[in-house]
Subunit: 91 residues, 2 copies
Amino acid sequence: MVVTVVYLIVVYDMRADRTRLMLNFLRKYLTHVQNSVFEGEVTEGDLETIRNHTESLLNPEESVIIYRVGSAQYVDRTVIGDDPTDDARFL
Amino acid sequence: MVVTVVYLIVVYDMRADRTRLMLNFLRKYLTHVQNSVFEGEVTEGDLETIRNHTESLLNPEESVIIYRVGSAQYVDRTVIGDDPTDDARFL
């Protein structure tokens, strides 16, 4: 069995008082890098779970965008300003 | 002269009452795809301008993350829920 791993950047837009649900779910799979942005390497199976579950958490007018790249090496990442991952809330 | 073009995903986290400055600036170069997310193809020169100018717009505890990939073809993009780009505000 071959397990394919992909690199994801996930951004969401939800009503502020509802984001906790999304945060708690995405934290299980990815790293929290900015207020409403997560990143990380997951299997294709996890990607499917993330797609389905994030959809179930959304209300009308809310959205999630999942960017998928083959590997982290294809993405160059620059943080400008205050890197939120330096903050303990993001650990 | 060779002009190198790169594909960017730009996400920012700013105080809600200050985002207008960032929106107006990024709109000149990129497509607005979600509340605080922009995407698009720019030259290396534009990328440098975007880096410098976004930095000048930030207050402490605010941040911008710029993801850069060689080309849009390396990124697979899935929108879940309400695609904000269907909304005229995003045109």
